[in-house]
Structure formats: C-alpha cells, structure tokens
C-alpha cells in the first residue's frame, strides 16, 4: 500500500463516515429545516472527501478534474435546492422546531 493509496483510503473512510452521519441526521432530526442542514452540509462534505479519495486513486489528471467537477455541480445544485425546499416548507406553514417538546 503506497502512501498515496493509504491517504486515499483515509479520505474514503472519512467520506463514508460523514455520509453515514448525514443519513442518521436526516432520520433523527425533528423537522424539515434541521434535516436540510444534515443533508446539505454533511452529505456534501462526505461526497467531497470521497471525491478527493477517488481523485488520488484516478490514473490521469483529466479524470481527477472531472471528479472535482462532479462535486462542484452537486454543491451548486444542493445549495439551491436546499433554499427552495426551505422556502416552500415555510410557505406551507411548517413551523420550525422550537426546542425540547414536552413528551
């Protein structure tokens, strides 16, 4: 295992961990807005780490750049979709979670 592969494996594991955290966040959080946080921030970071890990493994610079391009597009589109979903939810009258609720 050359140092490059070790580094890429580390990135991949970190990325997978973040994706897992993001998914658990989506399942556990109480309302739309918190879930959007989990989705947009954590999963994108996870994707970024996975992309960097793969770029290290990829044979040519062209594929590495294409992979980074994938990450860039996902960042842009998820930023906008997150805003749109939040706005739609607010219009639909989804009240943000106000702190601990009595059981």
């Amino acid at each position: 295992m050359s140092p490059l592969e070790l580094l890429s494996a580390a990135f991949l594991f970190a990325g997978a961990a973040f994706c897992l955290a993001g998914t658990v966040g989506v399942l556990r959080f109480p309302d739309v807005y918190c879930r959007l946080h989990a989705l947009t921030k954590v999963d994108n970071l996870g994707l970024g780490l996975v992309v960097v890990g793969l770029a290290l493994r990829s044979s040519s610079w062209a594929t590495a750049l294409k992979l980074l391009l994938v990450w860039l597009f996902v960042l842009i589109s998820s930023a906008f979709t997150c805003q749109l979903i939040a706005r739609a939810a607010l219009r639909r009258g989804a009240v943000p979670w106000g702190g601990r609720r009595e059981p």
Partner: protein, 309 residues
C-alpha cells in the same frame, strides 16, 4: 468484495420496487420511485453500461420523477380501502414469488457465457463510421429501430400536448426571484456545454443524442417550473421546426440511398461518421423538445383541498 455489492444491489432493487407499490400515500411512493430509479442507474453502471446509466439517471429518474411529482399536486389522494388491499396482499406475494420462480428457471437455463453479437459488432465497426459500438448499433446497424423510436417520441408528445393544451407564458415576476434567477443564469451555460460534449463524445464514448437531449430537457424543465419559459406549444412554428427537423433529416438521410440504387438507411462509407453526427445533433433538439412537451406549464388549480397558502 464486488459480489457483496452486486448481491446487495440486486436484492435492494425488487425490495424497493415492492415498497414503492405498497406505500399507501402517493407522494411517498413517488419519492421511493425516484430512489429506485437512482439505484437502477447504479445497477446499469455496475453492469458496465454507462450509456444506459446516463439515460436512466437523466430521463428515467430525473424527468419522470419530476413529472410524477408535478402531477401529484393534481391527483386527489383517493382514500385506499386498506382492508381489501390487506386481504389481497398474500395472494399478490404468492403470485410474485411464483412468477419469479418460473422466469428464474428460464434464466438459469440460459447459457452462462455466450458472447452474443459483440464479436460481429466489433468486426463490422470500422465501416459503420462510428467507433463507439453502442452508437454504431443504435444509429447504423439498427438505425431503423431508432427511426421508429423517434416516431414513438413524436406520438407521445402529440398525445401529451393534445390532452393538456393550456400552457402558461413566461411571467416577468419570476425573473426577479433571486434564487431561481441565479440558478438559471449559472446553470444554463454549463448545461449547453455538457449537452454539446455528450453529443460529440457519442462518436467514440458513451453518449449521444438521447443523453444530450435529456440533459437539455432537464435545463428546460427548471426554466418551465420557475415559469421563466412557457411549455413549448405545437401552435408556434418555431417549436414545430425545432421538433421536426430531426425526424425530417433522419428520414432524408435514410431515403437518400434509395434513389441511387442503394438500400434504406445505407450510410455512404466516407460520410457515415459526419452524417450520423449531424443527424444526432438534430435529434438532440427533437428529444429535448419532446421531453419538455410532457411538462404542463400551468400551476395546479387549488380546488377543493384547502391547503394553507
């Protein structure tokens, strides 16, 4: 290690499909259906079919999912009679299992490693004018299928438009909306670039008219949903020309050899590559236009359901 991924993916697909059909609420079913589409796109990628993964992700999941969600705001959530459904469920499961076993028995009886027509395609690929085998089969060896398939697209577009004629013109207030305005301005150049690249790369790599058309249609759908662009209407001449140039060109190219004693769809040796490329460019516009025509522009009328505005 690969076997585990394949096995898990192959198991998840039918389970997710069953879940799509079992959930009572429609919106949940559609969301699960989009997830199913993405998983099947992953399956195509695992089976080394990048062309199909591209089309599945862009059209099968993206556009169909968006179309279904757009429709949900119309169809009433008819209250399903859960008792009747529950009574029928064991019979349905039994039927699914029996059918799977029967068909599985036939699949297991298939020869395990027949190369199919791959060798013939590679042997004749040089004189098809295109290097990528799938594009060679799609546009040259079986170009007749693609010609009829373009007719299928036109018929579907005509049927969908005829049934939903009303479409909204682009309204100006949408342009001032910061969110979608910014997205639209940032996305359009990248989209056109990717679509052009996909048509060009179809010559020697996975890509082609369908993938590029789907990407263009994706951009168009965002424009329609943010009511920056009305749905293309058959009544405007520009739309009709954009829609029908591809088929007319394809028919022309197919029929031309007949006048000089050749056969239908017999591309001349030297120009096969360029002719296919020109036809693909025109077909990309046709496919994008057809896929856009499936989208109604109108806001769903809020009749009957008092959802808070």
């Amino acid at each position: 290690m690969d076997g585990l991924l394949d096995g898990c993916l192959a198991l998840c697909l039918p389970l997710l499909a069953y879940l799509v059909l079992r959930t009572e609420s429609l919106s949940q079913a559609v969301v699960l259906f989009v997830a199913f589409g993405l998983l099947s796109a992953l399956g195509w990628a695992r089976l080394e079919a990048p062309d199909i993964a591209l089309v599945e992700a862009a059209v099968g999941t993206g556009l169909t999912g968006a179309l279904l969600m757009h429709t949900l705001s119309w169809t009433e959530e008819t209250p399903p009679d859960v008792r009747a459904r529950a009574r029928r469920r064991p019979w349905a499961l039994l039927a699914m299992a029996a059918l799977t076993l029967l068909l599985g028995w036939a699949v297991l009886a298939l020869p395990a490693d027949s190369p199919g027509l791959g060798l013939e395609v590679d042997a004749r690929r040089e004189d098809s004018g295109v290097k990528h085998p799938v594009t060679a089969v799609l546009l040259n060896f079986r170009g007749y299928d693609t010609l009829l398939e373009i007719a299928v697209l036109l018929v579907a577009a005509l049927g969908a438009r005829a049934v939903n004629p009303r479409s909204e013109r682009a309204s100006s207030e949408a342009a001032k909306d910061p969110l979608t305005g910014e997205l639209f301005r940032m996305m359009t150049p990248a989209l056109l670039l990717v679509a052009g690249y996909l048509v060009w790369v179809g010559d020697h790599g996975p890509g082609g008219a369908f993938q590029a058309g789907a990407i263009l249609a994706g951009g168009g759908v965002v424009a329609i949903l943010t009511s920056r662009m009305g749905t293309p209407r058959m009544s405007s001449l520009r739309v009709r020309w954009a829609l029908l140039t591809g088929p007319l060109l394809f028919i022309g190219v197919a029929v031309a050899p007949l006048f000089s004693g050749g056969r239908l769809l017999e591309f001349p040796e030297k120009y096969a590559g360029t002719l296919i490329f020109i036809v693909e460019m025109a077909l990309t516009v046709t496919i994008a236009m057809v896929l856009l025509m499936f989208f109604p522009g109108t806001r769903p009328p809020r009749t009957g359901r008092g959802s808070a505005r």
